[in-house]
């Protein structure tokens, strides 16, 4: 990085040396070097501006969450934590938060169990329609939320609710939320865990089995310890996806509220101060989780599944 921040002066200094050797080719070289540096700086400038673009609205929101004037910057009337106190005292909102945590934990657990098993099938077994199975497994991530939401709503409300005996289970509510999010979270586990299994040396498993370990023992003692970080990352991803999802939940929630749908109604009725506070609180929370996860494991590797270098 240090070489990139060379000042224009040193470039000129070098230019002096180059012209001393005085050939036409040398001036060409000098232009080349200068342009090289210019492009490099331009690249850094664009990168910097992009980060500003990504961060500005969130920064403003966090700032406003601590400001007395909660919807716009001017006139600035001083700082306060009142909005936070009011937010945490809001029983409806906190209830919705609790619901979100429950739904996310249950659905991510289901997604993780199914995803790990399916990853084992993809990475260790040969079967017909394997590519089809994989594509099918990634589908919930690709289908837009509106489509998945409406398809599941019609399915639960019009088709399954009419069934004898079990019909009542599928009246939109807690269970339908968990089922919907378990499907939505599945691809994230599948992608992350299967990517890890593909790079894992299979001969270790064979060795364990040759030495007399059963399939379950092999998984428990050999495979699991190696893929455990990936399973953890998959669970975390599925959890966050469920926790932050609005549109799928909005369709299948029935009369129940999760955090996102409760926040959505807040904005509809214009409760900006609490909205700023709860939103900023989420930003802080995610920042901590992400910082910890990035130091404990290699998050970027999982995020850019496939392209990552494990030793980065």
């Amino acid at each position: 990085m240090a070489t990139e921040t060379d000042t224009a002066e040193t470039a000129d200094g070098r230019a002096g040396q180059e012209t001393a050797t005085a050939t036409v080719g040398a001036t060409g070289l000098l232009d080349h070097e200068q342009r090289e540096r210019l492009y490099s700086r331009l690249l850094y400038l664009i990168a910097g501006l992009l980060l500003v673009f990504l961060w500005i609205p969130l920064t403003v929101m966090v700032f406003l969450s601590f400001a007395r004037n909660s919807s716009t910057l001017f006139p600035f009337e001083g700082f306060t934590v009142e909005h936070y106190l009011a937010t945490f005292a809001d029983a409806g909102l906190m209830g919705a938060l609790y619901n979100s945590v429950q739904v996310a934990t249950l659905s991510a657990t289901i997604a993780t169990v199914l995803g790990v098993l399916a990853s084992l099938a993809l990475a260790r077994r040969d079967f017909r329609f394997k590519q089809g199975f994989r594509t099918f497994g990634i589908l919930p991530m690709i289908v837009p939320g509106v489509v998945l939401g409406i398809a599941l709503l019609i399915y639960f409300r019009t088709l399954l609710s009419g069934l004898p005996l079990v019909g009542d289970l599928f009246v939109p509510g807690f269970l339908t939320l968990v089922l919907t999010h378990s499907v939505y979270g599945f691809p994230f586990v599948l992608l992350i865990v299967s990517a890890r299994l593909y790079t894992f040396d299979e001969s270790l498993e064979e060795a364990a089995r040759d030495l007399g370990a059963g399939p379950l023992e092999t998984f428990k003692d050999v495979t699991f310890p190696v893929v455990a970080p990936a399973i953890g990352a998959g669970f975390l991803f599925a959890w966050i996806r469920s926790f932050e999802d609005f549109i799928r939940a909005f369709f299948v929630k029935g009369t129940m509220d999760v955090l996102t749908t409760a926040m959505f109604s807040m904005i509809k009725y214009g409760a900006a101060p609490k909205m700023n506070a709860i939103s900023s609180f989420i930003v802080f929370l995610i920042a901590i989780v992400l910082a910890v996860a990035m130091n404990v494991g290699n998050v970027t590797e999982y995020v850019a599944a496939g392209g990552g270098d494990p030793d980065e």
């Binding site: 500005i56 098993l117 399916a118 991530m141 409406i150 019009t158």
Partner: protein, 304 residues
């Protein structure tokens, strides 16, 4: 554990190849079959059926739902559905191009530099990315509008005399919001493919006299093609069906297809109309992925 013969049989079956496959792929296959394949099939079926006033499906094939989408007074291109569809394609296309242009330089920089800078930048990119989508859309809601932060700040600084129309709610605001929302998908996809590039190829091309533009077009872009394609898909598809961003940043001035579907379903439970409208998104995705798979394999679509 395996004292009775029955469980011995079960155990020995589980040791066979079929048994192992059944245990590993079976549960998710059933789960996805029941909660993904069947609902989508049902939705497609409903779109071709009539639904009566008591929300019951009349099991008779009919194109009435599709007729309704394009029906009403005036020619079909003046129906609210067609206008929404066109607007959605436009917004999704502009967002995709914008994300691609913005993310490419950053992805290139990340792939070439690495190290500490990489970790910091990726943290700064991932944090907004992991932040609730709703929160990000809301944060732009604060920025835009006649008395939003952007206009208010410019007015305060005396840069402008009255609120700028472009900073009001509407299509430009929606595009900015969607770009902000889906930019990381593009960045990560591009980074994943650029990271695998041997950059000595770039230097070789330069040494052999290729110009910067030639290197970009002839060397870098072809190598980054899988990332460009998968990144574009991961931006275009969710932008096409977006709901919350156009809802917040359009403020009722414009209606994208996702909003139209939501409105018909949640206020009228018009499942026929909603299903038929959703089919346009589904078919677009199928076509988009069909085209994409000619250039990249499903493995390269990892990305997210």
């Amino acid at each position: 554990m395996g004292t009775s013969t029955e469980s011995d049989d079960t155990l020995s079956f589980l040791r066979t190849e079929d048994g192992k496959l059944l245990v590993t792929a079976g549960p998710s296959g059933v789960w996805l079959g029941l909660l993904l394949l069947l609902p989508l099939t049902f939705m497609i079926t409903v779109s071709f059926m009539n639904v009566n006033d008591s929300y019951n499906i009349v099991w008779q094939p009919s194109l009435e739902n599709y007729g309704q989408l394009f029906g009403g007074q005036g020619p079909f291109w003046q129906t609210s559905f067609f206008e929404s569809l066109l607007l959605s394609y436009f917004v999704a296309a502009v967002t995709t191009v914008l994300c691609l242009t913005l993310a490419f330089p950053l992805a290139y920089l990340l792939a070439r530099k690495g190290g500490r800078l990489f970790k910091i930048v990726i943290f700064l990119v991932l944090l907004p990315f992991f932040t609730m989508y709703l929160v990000r859309a809301y944060s732009w809601l604060l920025m835009f509008g006649p008395s939003g932060v952007l206009n208010a700040t410019l007015l305060q600084l005396g840069v402008i005399g009255e609120p700028l129309g472009v900073l009001n709610f509407g299509v430009p605001a929606i595009i900015v919001g969607l770009t902000h929302a889906y930019f990381p998908y593009m960045l990560l996809s591009l980074y994943a493919s650029l990271d695998g590039i041997d950059f000595s190829l770039v230097e070789a091309a330069r040494d052999l006299g290729a110009s910067r533009a030639e290197v970009l077009i002839d060397v870098i872009l072809p190598l980054a093609l899988p990332g460009i394609i998968s990144g574009s898909l991961f931006v275009f598809v969710p932008s096409l069906g977006a709901f919350i961003t156009p809802r917040f940043l359009g403020q009722g001035k414009v209606l994208m297809i996702g909003q139209l579907i939501e409105e018909r379903i949640n206020s009228l439970y018009a499942i026929g109309y909603g299903s038929a409208a959703s089919m346009f998104i589904v078919v677009t995705i199928v076509v988009a992925f069909g085209v994409a798979f000619r250039y990249v394999s499903v493995d390269e679509l990892g990305g997210v």
